[in-house]
C-alpha cells in the first residue's frame, strides 16, 4: 500500500509540474488503476516519440512507406507519409492527457494491428528475395526506430496492441471517458 501511495504522490508531483496534464483524481489507490495510468503514459509517450521521429524526417518516412507498395497513387502516398506521424503524436497527446482514452486506445490497437500486417507482408517478400530465416531478417520498417529485427518488432507490436486493447476495454481505465 505504501508503494501505491508513493506512485500516486509522484503522479500528483507530475500534475503540479505540468498543469496542462489533467490526470483524474484517484478515488482509491488500486494497483489496476495505477497500471492503467502507467500504461497510458507508456503508450502515449511511445507514440509521441515514434511520431516525432518520423514527422521530423518526412522524406525518409515517405521513401520507406513507398517500399511497402501498398499505395500506388502519389497523392495517397504523400498524404499518408505527411499525416500518419502527426496523427500518432495527436493520439499520444490524448493518451497523456487522459482525453478519450478508450476510443484513442482502440484506434491505436487497430493501427498497430495494420502496421504489424504490413511489416509481416514486407518481411515475407524480403525473405523470399534474400533467403534468410524470418527472424534473422532486419530492415527499417519506417516505425521511427531505424532498422529492427522483424520478430522482435512484431512481438513488440503485439505487446502494444494488448496494452491498447486493455486500456480500451478495462473498467480501470481512467480519463475523461
Amino acid at each position: 500500500m505504501e508503494g501505491c501511495r508513493a506512485s500516486v504522490d509522484s503522479i500528483r508531483t507530475l500534475e503540479i509540474a505540468m498543469p496542462s496534464l489533467k490526470i483524474p483524481l484517484l478515488g482509491e489507490c488500486s494497483l489496476a488503476r495505477l497500471i492503467s495510468i502507467t500504461a497510458r503514459f507508456a503508450l502515449g509517450g511511445f507514440l509521441i516519440a515514434m511520431g516525432l521521429a518520423k514527422a521530423f524526417a518526412p522524406v525518409d518516412f515517405l521513401k520507406l512507406l513507398r517500399e511497402y507498395h501498398f499505395l500506388s497513387s502519389p497523392w495517397l502516398l504523400n498524404a499518408t507519409a505527411a499525416t500518419l506521424p502527426w496523427f500518432e503524436v495527436f493520439c499520444g497527446i490524448l493518451l497523456l492527457g487522459g482525453i478519450a482514452t478508450r476510443a484513442t486506445s482502440a484506434i491505436i490497437a487497430g493501427l498497430f494491428f495494420f502496421f504489424s500486417i504490413a511489416i509481416a507482408h514486407r518481411a515475407i517478400a524480403l525473405q523470399s528475395e534474400l533467403h534468410v530465416p524470418f527472424c534473422a531478417l532486419s530492415f527499417d520498417c519506417g516505425c521511427g526506430a531505424g532498422e529492427v529485427f522483424v520478430c522482435a518488432k512484431l512481438t513488440e507490436n503485439l505487446a502494444w496492441i494488448a496494452l491498447a486493447l486493455w486500456l480500451a476495454l478495462s473498467r480501470h481505465t481512467l480519463g475523461k471517458t
Partner: protein
C-alpha cells in the same frame, strides 16, 4: 434528441473514435502544412521513367539485383575517376551532382560535386540549373545500392529542360567510392 449519455457504450466509443480520427486528421494536415519539412501532397516525388527503363544485366539464377532500373547511361567508379581528372571538369563542362540530403552531403561528398536534393529542389535549383545548362556531361550519384535519388534527380532536371542525353548515373554511388578508398570532402553545416 439523443444525448451522448443515452448512447450504448459501443456506440459512444464509436462516436468518440470518429471524433478522434477526424480531429486527428485535421491536426495532422495542419501540422504538415506548418512544418518547414512538410510534404507537398500534390507532388510526385518519384517520377517514372519517360522512356522504357533499362534493366541492368544480371546473371541467371542470381539473387535479384538491388540496382534500380533506369533509362540513363551509367558511369563506373573508374570512369568517374577519369572524368574528374579531365580538365573539362575544372571548367564545369563536366558536372558532378550529389543527389543526397544535406546531412549526408555534409558528412562527405566527392570533391567538386554540386548538391541537388530533389525532395527540396527550391534550395538548389538557382545554382544547379545554370551549371547543368552549361555542361555537356552531367554525372549524378547518391548512396548506391538500391538508392534511387540520383535517378529521380536526373528525371526532375530533365523535366526542367536539361537534355536527357547529358545525364549519366554513377549507380554504384558514394559507397563504392568509399570502398575503393577514394577521398571525400566534408563541408561545414
Amino acid at each position: 434528441m439523443m444525448t451522448a449519455s443515452r448512447l450504448h457504450p459501443i456506440g459512444l466509443l464509436g462516436l468518440q473514435a470518429f471524433i478522434v480520427i477526424f480531429s486527428g486528421i485535421i491536426f495532422a494536415v495542419m501540422a504538415n502544412f506548418l512544418s518547414p519539412r512538410g510534404l507537398e501532397l500534390s507532388r510526385n516525388y518519384f517520377p517514372p521513367a519517360a522512356t522504357p527503363a533499362i534493366q541492368p544485366t544480371a546473371n541467371i539464377g542470381a539473387a535479384p539485383s538491388p540496382i534500380p532500373t533506369h533509362e540513363f547511361s551509367t558511369v563506373t567508379t573508374d570512369g568517374l575517376v577519369e572524368m574528374l581528372r579531365d580538365k573539362r571538369f575544372v571548367t564545369r563542362r563536366f558536372l558532378l551532382i550529389d543527389a543526397r540530403n544535406d546531412a549526408h552531403f555534409r558528412n562527405g561528398h566527392i570533391e567538386g560535386a554540386l548538391q541537388f536534393d530533389h525532395f527540396q529542389p527550391q534550395n538548389y535549383l538557382s545554382a544547379v540549373m545554370p551549371a547543368c545548362l552549361a555542361a555537356e556531361k552531367i554525372v549524378i550519384y547518391c548512396t548506391g545500392g538500391s538508392c534511387e535519388d540520383s535517378l529521380f534527380a536526373a528525371r526532375m532536371l530533365r523535366d526542367f529542360g536539361i537534355p536527357a542525353d547529358r545525364f549519366s548515373i554513377f549507380i554504384e554511388g558514394i559507397q563504392a567510392w568509399k570502398d575503393a578508398g577514394l577521398p571525400l570532402t566534408l563541408s561545414a553545416p
